[in-house]
């Protein structure tokens, strides 16, 4: 009994890590731009595909390389390229609207469309067939009593925690992080401090997208079947996790992701798995009813 509880908890941590990594991107962009970047789930999908192409390319050129070495190259490359996609999106789709002072509604709709363009662009370019991700890491199973964990799952949880610590450091200790917090509080005064707003926004997209890319890579390693719509559902769920945590707040996104992971695993442990999303989201709705600003949200004032 105890073993199965611990086992489930661990699985929840791993599952929640994906949500957390993606939710951080939603929350960062929201904090700075007051924009819900609905394309973010598809950035995650793009990240998984980028990882796929880089990994197969490296393996194609150098078959004999050990998996960990390939992974060491794939991780930074995926994060950089995914960040590039996120930044391009900002540049091509969101910035022109911002310059014209478009109402937020139009920017959100644009974000939704960007997501659809990414999904369907992928479908058009690569076809409907699913891609299977090469196995880069040899699976090692550690068993303690009846609880078993794999090196990969530990790696996933560790990555999420490291990203969170890194982000906390950026936001509290660096000037650009301070500028991100400042924008979320008072956008007007930021250029008056000699700070180029566009630089801060681009930096925010770099952070959010590279974490989504990392999540995509880790997801592909864990569940090695890729399809163009893989980001849609996960993206929605991560968005909900960010809102439940209190959108705009980094701790909120991080904990919200884990909370969603826990709730899902918990539901599956008790009920048939077809009930998972129904019950999980019902629970989250109850949480939002009780505290509409989310766990860490303080309505309108302290974001990021």
């Amino acid at each position: 009994m105890l073993a199965s509880i611990i086992q489930n908890l661990f699985n929840a941590f791993q599952w929640g890590s994906f949500y957390s990594l993606i939710a951080l991107g939603y929350t960062l962009v929201y904090g700075v731009l007051r924009l819900i970047n609905f394309a973010h789930g598809d950035i995650f999908m793009v990240g998984a595909y980028i990882a796929f192409f880089i990994a197969t390319a490296i393996l194609g050129m150098a078959m004999s390389l050990p998996g960990w070495m390939v992974l060491a190259m794939v991780i930074p490359a995926t994060m950089i390229l995914t960040a590039l996609v996120g930044v391009s999106l900002e540049r091509i789709a969101y910035r022109p609207l911002r310059r014209k002072g478009a109402h937020r509604l139009y920017v959100v709709i644009t974000a939704l469309m960007c997501g659809l363009v990414l999904e369907n662009g992928n479908l058009a370019l690569l076809g409907a067939s699913r891609k299977s991700f090469p196995e880069l890491v040899d699976k090692v199973v550690y068993s303690i009593g009846d609880v078993s964990m794999t090196n990969l799952k530990i790696g996933v949880v560790l990555s999420a925690v490291l990203v969170f610590i890194f982000l906390q450091f950026i936001v509290t200790k660096t000037k650009i992080g301070m500028a991100m917090r400042a924008i979320s509080y008072d956008k007007f005064a930021v250029p008056l401090m000699g700070i180029p707003i566009d630089t801060v926004i681009v930096f925010t997209f770099i952070l959010g997208s590279s974490f989504a890319g990392l999540a995509g890579l880790l997801f592909a390693l864990s569940y090695p079947i890729l399809d163009p719509y893989m980001g849609a559902m996960v993206g929605w769920k991560a968005f909900i996790a960010a809102v439940v945590g209190g959108i705009g707040d980094i701790r909120g996104a991080f904990l919200g992701g884990f909370l969603l992971g826990f709730v899902e695993i918990l539901v599956v442990a008790v009920f048939p798995s077809t009930y998972r999303d129904l019950i999980a989201f019902a629970i989250l709705m109850v949480i939002l009813c009780i505290k509409p600003t989310g766990m860490f949200g303080v309505a309108g004032t302290t974001k990021i």
């Binding site: 310059r99 014209k100 002072g101 000037k175 301070m178 500028a179 917090r181 400042a182 979320s184 509080y185 008072d186 007007f188 005064a189 250029p191 008056l192 401090m193 000699g194 700070i195 180029p196 707003i197 004032t301 302290t302 974001k303 990021i304």
Partner: protein, 241 residues
């Protein structure tokens, strides 16, 4: 001449807010723009800071020269970074979710002259000891007067040698108001050039060297502060008779 506004016409959307105003500020001066609500005072400052449309006003005619160069093509953050012009905006606009110290630190974003930054910290804290006492506090917990000090301190920390102040007396009790103006005078005596916008014409003219009176987007009177204070029209309209 440090700042020269030449026949400036400015629009917000389709509404013209300034109808060809001209004025200038010399190095080392305190110049004040006085006028009623809606006269175009804030618009004038926002035009100089180059905040882009849609938030900022659009220049349709005329020019703004700073040290003899037109600054109309300069980006907002470059006005601060490169020209060292700072604005302490109306309503203070401090970053309430940051501490006092973080607010000041953030204002040094574009600077990398580490030693001078430390001197400037000292300078701000000497000028406003209250800020030093409260440096670790979240700035939204400050009183109105302290927030105003922080707003001015932040302008200093950008490394500016020309600071524009939009209603620094707003919402302050008379005693605090005089403290604030004494601090500004002190800054001025250290060589800082100030352009001061005030609805409280009496105190502005008391501390300024020269002044301009702005009325519905046009300058209607100008002169040195003493003259303006004794000008019967100004007296009647802005100094309560």
């Amino acid at each position: 001449m440090l700042l020269e506004i030449k026949n400036l016409y400015v629009k917000y959307g389709n509404i013209e807010a300034l109808h060809g105003i001209s004025f200038n500020v010399d190095k080392g001066e305190i110049v004040t723009l006085i006028g009623a609500n809606g006269a175009g005072k804030t618009t004038t400052l926002h035009t100089i800071t180059r905040v882009p449309p849609p938030e900022g006003p659009k220049v349709t005619q005329g020019d703004i020269l700073y040290k003899g160069q037109s600054i109309l093509g300069v980006e907002a953050h470059k006005v601060v970074q490169d020209l060292h012009i700072a604005l302490s905006p109306e309503g203070r606009h401090i970053f309430g979710n940051l501490t006092v110290e973080e607010n000041l630190q953030l204002a040094t974003y574009a600077r990398n002259d580490h030693d001078t930054i430390q001197e400037d910290f000292k300078r701000v804290y000497d000028l406003f000891p209250r800020l030093y006492e409260r440096r670790k506090q979240r700035s939204e917990s400050l009183s109105g007067g302290e927030q105003q000090m922080l707003s001015v301190g932040r302008s200093l920390m950008t490394g500016a040698d020309f600071i524009m102040l939009d209603e620094p007396s707003m919402g302050l009790a008379p005693l605090l108001m005089y403290d604030m103006f004494r601090a500004l005078k002190e800054l001025n005596s250290q060589g800082m050039t100030l352009l001061l916008i005030e609805q409280n014409a009496r105190i502005a003219l008391q501390f300024a060297h020269r002044g301009y009176v702005l009325d519905t987007g046009a300058i209607v009177a100008s002169g040195n502060a003493k003259e303006l204070m004794n000008n019967p029209d100004v007296k009647k309209a802005y100094l309560g008779g």
